[in-house]
Amino acid sequence: MSFLAKYIGQKVKRTEDPRLIQGIGHYVDDIKLADTLHVVILRSPYAHARINAINTDAAKRVPGVVAVYTGADVAGKVGNVPCAMAHPELKVPAFGVLAQTKVFFVGHPVAAVVAQNKYQARDAADLIDVDYEPLDVVSDGEKAAQPDSPVIHEEFGTNIALVHNAGVGDIDAAFAQADKIVTQRLVHQRLAPISIEPRGVLAQYFPGEHQLNLWSSTQIPHLMRTQVSLMLGMPENRVRVVTPEVGGGFGCKLNVYAEEALLGWIAMQLHKPVKWIEGRRENFQATIHGRGQTGTVQVAVKNDGTLLGLKYDVIADIGAYHQLLTPAIPTLTGLMLSGCYKIPAISMKCTEVFTNKMSTDAYRGAGRPEATYLVERLMDCVARELNMDPVELRRKNFPQPDEFPFTTACGVIYDSGDYEKALSKALTIADYQKLRDEQKAARAAGRVMGIGVSTYVEICAMGPSAAMPAGGWESATIRVEPTGKVTVLTGVSPHGQGEETAFAQIVGDMLGIDMNDVLVVHGDTAVVQYGIGTFGSRGLAVGGAALVCATEKVVKKAKKLAAHLLGADEASLTFEDGKFVGAPDDKSLTIQEVALAAHTAASLPEDFEPGLTATHFFEPKNFTFPSGTHICVVEIDRETGELEIKRYIAVDDCGNQINPLIVAGQVHGGIAQGLAQALFEEVVYDENGQLLTGELMDYAVPKAHQLPRYELDHTVTPTPVNPLGAKGVGEAGTIGSTPAVANAVIDALAPFGVKHVDLPLRPEKLWRMMHN
């Protein structure tokens, strides 16, 4: 495929932004339907309790209240919250949309109040009298796995939901040959994804037509349609999911929650539109969390730094129930334990345990930040043990560019990569040797300075359907309208990734037209053909690839008609800059002229279907494996433990870039979140399962002034997996940054004998490390 690079590769400003900046975009809460009723969900204040009785009489008497529903009302009528992972040994507790006899986490939905406005609904919810009998709480994942722990779901007799083993190679032999075995226990704390727009659902039901419309702030409108139709027993083609503007997802909206089906069911009971908009406190309690792994890593290594094997024995604290992908997330960790190194033998044992907390699930990176963090942290631990420079140790174990495709001992095949190139570039930008000299001088002067390097690789463009729970392909339809304007229908569901812009760039170049003539439509299951959605850095690499293939089909079709109209041999025509040329007498036709002729259909070749439209479902042959090097320089206040990031360098390789401005934006946001995991963020539950970080006053989402200036650059190693050569970049910043910051801080603390500190690296922790 060749591109006219008028748009592709250019820093085109996002066409989505003007409406968003002006506040005139439409989110779920901006959709107003006449006679809408408002729903407030009463949630459990207990982490674990038996519900002895619920009295809703007083709530029902509140003026404006139309209905109050509890678990008894929905039992047998609304299906359970779905879990997409099918595994014969996986224990799947029944997760009703409203609690039945027990509550299992703070925030567990107990009742739904429907009223004419949300104030009445909330007042009434406060009047519902629930007789809770508190039960023993299991709030710690490691304790939950112990045989003497109270059991959360009695029907299983254990809190262990699944034991997942991964990795290949002779691990025992690897460890037997080792000169050294380096062991480190690591905690990946729970995080809250915190999209600016919380979740929200608006449901409307037409009884005559037996049609249910759902507006939902989601990343997966089609998958949601399928799941909600199953939960409600509705024919799938009578459920329409519309995803208007989505104010961020970060994985937390790659899910089907209790509220979508519940709202749909209520709309079907009352025959009126019903709306529920999640509050921030609810968002902390009842929207999925990310990470939550505690484990021990062991690395077998030769004295010269050659890596032989890696073992990871980990407990994943998955919360009380499975959401859509809860049990699958830790398995992604198992795919990436080789990092960007040659490690002949790898073994992971992951024990997934139930606790009385909100479920974990996909949060930006989803299982891969855990892998990258532990591999990169251990690389520094090994370097320290061997007295090697951490950069040299990494370098020594890189697969070389000619070794790709590279098969790891996790069983995945890295598509392409040049790890040395990004590392060298980052080291040059940082002036690494000089930094080490500065560090020596700083240490001599009593200052606490550290340099952290992270060379990461991640798994993206999810993915080959065989490896995905609900298909990994993506769809695109391109329609050249009679006037020559182009409509793209994409199965991905962008919510900040800028595909309206990037896809218009691709089509603009491929058809040689003004990109502003391209409209990208997404997120409406009644309009767009079935698609998978946006997650796992797949929008461009899979959805964009589908669009390229669809556009090629449309050009091919147009060429046939152009040849017919020009009286030319199809083989002699070429399509250049929006025109079919090469016909006798220098005659040519533009794509717009051909489109009109295809619709008026006055003269068509034999067997030529009128219209100019094409659809393609793209099935990726492999994942992609973006990579890069991040370098962080920190200085810590010796007296107080306060930390300053002096420099932050990121050289990322996401393959070909369609829009470097969007790439940079994704990297910026990604680093902000990864750095915040390193320094600030942590979901904290106490021993009673109470959520102590239930507001933005206590959960430290990073603010602009808390972040350093980023020094960004990139290398380009295209992927052979898709026609764009693009690997995906949505999660790279998050994955690469956390270990770079952690390694910098721990490097800074080395003179104090510190070998590891668990995240987040709050000042008090660092102060104690220096003064204990």
């Binding site: 909330r122 007296e639 107080t640 507001e695 603010k703 002034h705 104690r768």
Partner: protein, 287 residues
């Protein structure tokens, strides 16, 4: 926000506001910039039946410097104070403190009167107000009274302001050496409130400390004057060892240091000592 039901009043004058306050008594809450009240309403931690919005009373927004007295209307926002040229000249500690509160949006809405009345133990203003030995003017329908800063903060979220009173003004005597002042804080990463904040206002004479006035916030249930530390500096040359030894007493007035998921009591005490030292050194260096 889904608060409980309340009636909303927007009086145009202080008199009208006081009348409403008398009428509704303890069922009423005053709304100024809303930066403390709105979150509380949102969480239904308070359920007032009347909200009296005093934010539109223009008379409460004035900032003036005349003679030896600086007067700041209770409705002046943190942003108003942070950019006020005369304040910068005569009492830069005020603007320096204001500029470190929350973020720009909070500073654009939040008011000094509201923040002081709310008496959050980790708010920034109390440290500066104490260090400046300010006076807070409160009015009720019975008349006006002047409360000294040292009497103003009573306990966690409790100030000396009575339910029938409105804070109208903050009065500060122009410091003799306005430049010899500083406010330093360690912000809590999520909220931006002070884990510990120290405001220092010094009077120096021939290299010696004639007077030191140090306000500490964030450490205890209420902000306080570090009087032991102040006494240890009085009459002394501010060399490193004197300042360090004095600053080691920065937490002497607090029996119970605050503790939460963000910092232990011990760490807060430590920060108070370190930042008291740094504040005194920085103020002295600026003089």
């Amino acid at each position: 926000m889904i608060p409980t039901n309340f009636e909303y009043f927007a009086p145009a004058t202080i008199e009208e506001a006081l009348q409403l306050l008398d009428q509704h008594g303890e069922d009423a809450k005053l709304l100024s910039g809303g930066q403390s009240l709105i979150p509380v309403l949102k969480l239904r931690l308070a359920a007032p039946t009347a909200i009296i919005d005093i934010g539109r009373i223009a008379a409460l927004k004035q900032i003036s410097v005349s003679g030896d007295t600086i007067r700041i209307g209770a409705n002046a926002t943190h942003a108003d104070i942070a950019r006020h040229a005369e304040l910068k000249q005569h009492c830069p500690l005020l603007g320096e403190t204001a500029a470190q509160i929350g973020d720009q949006q909070v500073r654009n809405r939040g008011t000094i009167g509201g923040s002081l009345t709310h008496a959050d133990p980790a708010a920034d203003w109390p440290a500066a107000i104490l260090a400046l030995d300010a006076e807070i003017v409160a009015r009720s329908s019975q008349g006006e009274r002047v409360i000294k800063a040292t009497d103003f903060f009573v306990d966690v979220m409790t100030s000396a302001v009575q339910p029938n009173e409105i804070v109208t003004e903050i009065r500060v005597a122009k410091p003799a050496q306005p430049q010899a002042a500083v406010y330093l804080k360690v912000p809590q990463a999520a909220s931006g409130f002070a884990l510990v904040g120290v405001a220092a206002q010094l009077t120096l004479n021939n290299g010696k400390c004639e007077a030191a006035s140090i306000g500490v916030t964030g450490l205890g249930p209420k902000a306080f004057r570090a009087t032991t530390l102040e006494a240890a500096l009085r009459g002394q040359a501010l060399d490193d060892s004197t300042v360090s030894a004095a600053a080691a007493k920065a937490d002497a007035e607090t029996a119970d240091a605050l503790e939460d998921i963000h910092a232990s009591g011990d760490y807060r005490r430590h920060l108070a000592r370190v930042y008291a030292k740094r504040a005194v050194q920085a103020a002295a260096a600026r003089a």
